[in-house]
Symmetry: C2
Subunit: 335 residues, 2 copies
């Protein structure tokens, strides 16, 4: 059994969609238990009338909420009875294996490092996100997506190692190809950080480093693990969303230009809808913060129940496949 | 009249598509003269049989070619009779107003700075590219797209000023909104460079700085001028291409899943094709290197005749609207 603590108060759709997502996860897998962390009174009300199994899901009271505008560091330090802090402490004290939150990224990041803590040998914990590609598995892993801006070259090497373990043992790609985001493929290309990181990646043990990748090739199966510092990673992940929603909007517009297009659009719609599900980030269930003693997963701020459910199920895969044991083995004695 | 020197030997489709593009530009505007720079014998052969006006287009011989694999600095220094070096010297000596090349970005960049030279007060010359958005004009200007990795904060301020002038006087947007690429909108967000640049942008004269922009909002009319250092800019521009081609591929695939979708796809095709032209970067005619004494424009390495033609026509707008005079006025006495 895997026990997942869930931040019932974090995100735009809390607590309703969070509670629904938890109920869904309980229904989908008999192997998961849930600790629903938040304001007890509200949560009890939300759960009244549902026939959830009280042995498998328990409410853990937390009287405070960290808001989007709060300073991450200050709120984690001061709001000791917030759902985020209480949930992370459950992980630290081994009462839960994982913590899922749709709340403030900054607070999740700070709490992950300060409360849960990093595994021995891990210098920085990166956010790792699966993004859609035209590869056979349909995804590659991008890290760091937002945790460590101004990371150093040796951090990137650790990201590559942790990302390889994730892709191999969670997604099932053997010997995953690792590449670093760069502005060209030639040796002399890159900014100072990338130029410093490339030799370290070449020398790193246990990874299949294939060199630089231009962002154009990320959607086209250019690599299985794509490494960069968090500023670049965040730009990539958000531009993915922006360009795909822009294109979708343009396509929809073209379906209404005249009668012929309207009929064509009507006929094409079911197939198109199915294809577009490939771009639905929610099915991957959020971004784990890799390298912590326990698992912390951040989902979108606007997560609906399905993303929360998928994030909870992802925690099971993570735990069952012993990702942290592999990361410890790879990193605790240096490279 | 505007005189444009064109690198007949640069890019994947040289010299055929370059020559065609020049002929097209001559046909489209009576206000442009062209100096076609490259191997005279080859170019004469390509032009034989066409009825081009010898008064408006002249061949300027250059016996060498800078290849993609050549080191930018070394090739500009050593290949003194290359089409790129000869073409840029025409601009430096005021025999041409502008130079267009589909050749090596690195060599264009080095040649631009070393041969043509920067305007007084300009510290770095950025590549500026119009990218598609859902705004009324259909574009925003992204700079720097690839010239100055590891730029400093005060360079970003100058990029913002030059980009504003371009959008105001070339694209015709009065008081264009300027934003800096960032990973969030809150004051504390950003890497060291962005945090240092924001106060400089706030204090900069003659720009309408609106703060940070997340990459998700770039396609959704979040700003008219989007400023970043060249590593980020290059990632953005190439990911735009990658994600849109990936989506287009996915849409096409969905058009062949069953008979219903095939008919739908057939009916929708004309409207879709028209909408997709919005994503065709070639219509904007390449990326100018802003801030030089004269104009240098880099087009895609795989440019076809239409992109070359559009780049030549863009040079006319640039010259006629006195962009360099505005840039000099704004930058030569500091901020």
């Amino acid at each position: 059994m895997v026990t997942v603590a869930v931040d019932a108060m974090g995100g735009d759709n809390a607590p309703d969609e969070i509670v629904k997502g938890c109920l869904k996860a309980l229904g989908e897998s008999p192997e998961v238990n849930i600790l629903l962390v938040g304001k007890e009174e509200i949560l009890q009300e939300k759960l009244s009338g549902t026939d959830y199994d009280g042995k498998r899901m328990k409410i853990v009271n937390a009287s405070e909420v960290i808001e989007t505008g709060d300073s991450p560091v200050a709120s984690v330090q001061k709001k000791k009875d917030s759902s985020l802090v209480v949930g992370m402490k459950l992980v630290r004290n081994n009462e839960a294996d994982a913590f899922v939150s749709a709340g403030s990224s900054g607070a999740v990041l700070v709490g992950g490092q300060v409360i849960v803590g990093r595994l021995k040998g891990v210098e920085r914990a990166p956010f790792a996100t699966l993004i859609p590609t035209d590869s056979k598995t349909g995804v590659c892993l991008l890290l760091d997506c937002g945790a460590n801006v101004d990371a150093r070259a040796d951090h990137l090497r650790q990201f590559a190692q942790m990302g390889s373990i994730y892709m191999e043992h969670v997604v099932g790609i053997s010997n995953p190809r690792v590449a670093i985001v760069n502005i060209g493929l030639e040796e002399e290309k890159g900014n100072a950080l990338v130029k410093e990181a490339i030799p370290l990646l070449k020398d790193a043990k246990n990874i299949n480093f294939t060199g630089s990748i231009e962002s154009r090739e990320i959607p086209h199966n250019g690599a299985d693990v794509v490494v960069c510092e968090a500023f670049t990673g965040n730009v990539i992940i958000k531009l993915y969303e922006g360009v795909s929603s822009f294109m979708l909007h343009t396509i929809k517009k073209s379906m209404f230009t005249d009668l012929r297009s309207k009929i064509g659009g009507f006929l094409l719609k079911p197939a198109l809808k199915k294809s577009m599900q490939e771009f639905d980030a929610s099915k991957y269930g959020g971004a784990p913060l890799l390298g912590l003693k326990g698992l912390v997963v951040k989902t979108h701020g606007n997560s609906k129940s399905s993303e929360i459910c998928n994030a909870i199920l992802q925690c099971m895969t993570f735990k069952e496949n012993k990702i942290n044991e592999y990361i410890s083995g790879a990193l605790e004695n240096g490279t």
